[in-house]
């Protein structure tokens, strides 16, 4: 499953990221934030007024906002 379909507050591990679909700067920024294969994450908040964008994820002791297009590039496994 990909990160965008992960139910909220479910702990998961990123097992693969398809960097090719993301802009190089965005890929760099995500990696710098530690969002990469092996990272343990959970979705904290999703969307506004019932929408699906953006997504706030918990990683380590941080909350990071990103878009669904980024989440869709990440394959995750529930823990």
């Amino acid at each position: 499953m990909t990160l965008d379909t992960l139910p909220p507050l479910t702990r998961a591990e990123i097992i693969a990221v398809d960097w090719s679909v993301l802009a190089p700067e965005e890929a760099k920024r995500l990696q710098a934030l530690g969002i990469d294969a092996g990272a343990r994450i959970a979705i904290a908040h999703r969307g506004v007024f019932g929408g699906k964008d953006p997504i706030a994820i918990l990683i380590g002791r941080m909350t990071v906002a990103l878009r669904r297009v980024h989440a869709r590039a990440m394959t995750v496994r529930e823990l």
Binding site: K28, F49, R61, T63, V64, H70
Partner: protein, 625 residues
């Protein structure tokens, strides 16, 4: 090589640079170390803010402390990060390579911040670590062993709480003793790849953390409400409503006082300077012109108080999160929300606030649409025309027609801006859809001293601009309106260069329903929109003591002379027209050239012309001409 060159150290003090991740509390530490003795400028060629100040060491020597933009990595992914990399590496032209680096780490987010820290320490330069925000981490149940961290990093580690001024003495001492040491042999951290650094960061953070609780309690609880898909936006809109109320209501007494002060200065000049060109220059040119801009200072200060509080408390990132979906629909991101919000007071600080947008195309688009947000200078123009032409009757429970028209004008600006962004992102600022990746900082109570310092800096930037750019523009316009001198019996505004320009302009604006008087008022309105009202008053030979009285008196004259279609077209014009040379000047500085300000002028005048025309002819078709 010039062997006679004076050694650098002899002429300039040592340079110490603060580096670290965004949200590590770097700016608060910078404020705490330097106090109010700060210099804010731009790095040449890029619009990244350069903050520097003096730090007195314990032995009496002083060093230059610079606050580098927050970075996640030396492998830069934004203009800010590129500046940090080049300054740290000593590759920035005109910037001395820092002698000592102070690495600022958030204790509450240690593992993540150690990833970048290793990159900096591996450079082998004199480095001191400030383990910052240790109080908030402790509140979250974290207990640290700074000594263990110092052991594994090979550099001194000083626990600090910048906002409470804790640990500053120890940090200053560590900076003094690190200075000039060759650290390359003492550093234990090797140059590693990102993956290895992450693994090492995990191990080091675990080794330095004696005990750990699960989560940030306060942080999670607040986010649960403020980022709720339904409650979050409602809270944000409620807050925006309060801000707007405050900007327009609280500022009035202060603005009136400033206006009174300007009037007093004018009276003083009239009483003491003999009548003639010099007096006219002082009263009509300098005082009225610069004064008409300075009266916006209270609104700008109030707006910035809210914006700074939102930023320093960590809420602004949440506001960006909530607005992201809406902004994404026109090709922007949540990051554009802050500058656009500022632009409701004045586009100048709004355009300056676009510096936080990393994506250059996003930033440019935001700069180009910022003037469409209805700034406070349009309000006097709207008020006069609405008062003169729109009947004060009710259209429903508690809703007046005049208020409805005013709201429609604000809405027209916002919708115009969104549509403009949509078109710009598909044409001149075309590029890949910008992403939105943003770390949400932890919540904290902003220290009042930091808030006050930030406000003072913003106010000073605004006043300095009023004293330079706006002063120059005002003087040029005054010259255009005052020369050549009118013959007796001839109107000065008609005889002047501006009068002749207006005659030429009239040919262009006649098709959209504008008369000669309007054409003439558009010229001084280029300095500041609200001057249009005073100018119309002068042209219609209304004898009034000040702008306000002029505005009151000019209404009936306009109502008698203009058709409703002309009045509506005039309003539509002001929604879009870039009638503010200061904004253009700021856009030129922020985009480093004339290309984009000219694009801005072109498209906004185009929109203003087309919409004023559509408004005029539609109204005429409905028999309002």
């Amino acid at each position: 090589m010039n062997t006679h060159a004076v050694p650098e150290a002899a002429i300039s003090p040592a340079v110490v640079a603060l580096v670290g991740n965004p949200n590590a509390g770097k700016s608060a530490l910078f404020n705490a170390l330097t106090g109010a003795r700060q210099k804010i400028a731009n790095y040449p060629g890029v619009t990244v803010e350069r903050k520097s100040g003096r730090l007195a060491l314990t032995d009496g020597a002083a060093v230059d402390l610079i606050d580098l933009p927050g970075s996640y990595s030396l492998d830069a992914s934004s203009p800010d990060e590129e500046v940090t990399r080049r300054v740290v590496m000593g590759e920035f032209p005109g910037e001395a390579m820092p002698d000592t680096l102070v690495l600022v780490l958030d204790a509450g987010n240690l593992e993540q911040h150690l990833v970048f820290a290793q990159e900096i320490i591996a450079l082998g330069r004199p480095t001191v670590v400030a383990l910052n925000m240790i109080d908030m981490a402790e509140r979250d149940g974290l207990v640290f062993d700074a000594q263990a961290l110092a052991q594994s990093l090979g550099v001194p580690v000083i626990p600090t709480v910048a906002v409470r001024k804790r640990g500053l003495g120890e940090l200053t001492e560590a900076i003094a003793s690190a200075h000039g040491q060759d650290m390359s042999l003492r550093h234990k951290v090797e140059r590693l790849g990102l993956i290895e650094r992450r693994v090492a960061a995990h191990a080091m953070a675990a080794g330095a953390t004696l005990s750990e609780s699960g989560v940030h309690r306060l942080h999670t609880k607040l986010d649960k409400v403020l980022l709720d898909p339904w409650a979050g936006p409602l809270i944000l809109f409620g807050l925006l409503f309060v801000i707007f109320q405050a900007v327009f209501a609280w500022a009035t007494p202060f603005a009136d006082a400033l206006d009174g002060a300007v009037g007093w200065l004018i009276d003083l000049a009239v009483a003491n300077v003999p009548a003639g060109l010099v007096r006219d220059f002082i009263t009509q040119g300098v005082l009225s012109g610069v004064g008409s801009v300075v009266v916006f200072l209270p609104q700008i200060v109030i707006l910035f108080a809210f914006i700074l509080a939102m930023e320093q408390s960590g809420y602004m990132a949440r506001a960006a999160f909530i607005m992201d979906r809406l902004m994404a629909s026109v090709g922007l991101s949540g990051r554009s929300f802050i500058p656009l919000l500022s632009s409701f007071a004045c586009a100048i600080p709004g355009i300056m606030a676009t510096r936080s947008i990393a994506d250059p195309k996003d930033r440019l688009t935001t700069i180009l649409i910022a003037p469409l947000m209805t700034c406070s200078a349009r309000l006097p123009v709207y008020a006069v025309i609405i008062g003169a032409f729109i009947p004060a009757r009710s259209v429903g429970v508690g809703v007046g027609l005049q208020g409805l028209v005013l709201f429609a004008l604000y809405l027209a600006g916002v919708i115009g801006a969104m549509l403009a962004a949509l078109v710009l992102r598909r044409t001149v600022t075309k590029g890949a859809a910008s992403g939105f990746i943003m770390e949400m900082p932890r919540y904290q109570l902003p220290p009042l001293s930091d808030l006050a310092l930030g406000l003072w800096q913003r106010a000073w930037i605004f006043l300095r601009r009023a004293g330079t750019i706006i002063f120059t523009v005002t003087v040029v316009l005054w010259v255009l309106l005052s020369f050549p001198q009118a013959e007796p019996g001839e109107s000065q505004s008609e005889a002047s260069i501006a009068g002749h320009i207006a005659s030429g302009l009239e040919v262009i604006v006649a098709p959209i329903g504008f008369n000669h008087e309007i054409a003439l008022s558009l010229i001084p309105a280029m300095a500041a929109r609200e001057v249009a009202v005073a100018s119309l008053a002068t042209t219609y030979a209304v004898d009034a003591a000040d702008d306000e009285a002029a505005a009151e008196a000019v209404g009936p004259k306009l109502a008698a002379d203009w058709s409703l279609a002309t009045a509506l077209a005039f309003l539509a014009w002001f929604v879009f027209a870039p009638q503010c040379l200061s904004t253009i000047a700021v856009a030129r500085r922020e985009t480093n050239g004339w290309k984009w300000p000219l694009v801005m002028l072109g498209y906004l005048f185009g929109l203003a012309y087309v919409f004023a025309g559509i408004t005029y002819w539609t109204a005429v078709a409905f028999g309002l001409g």
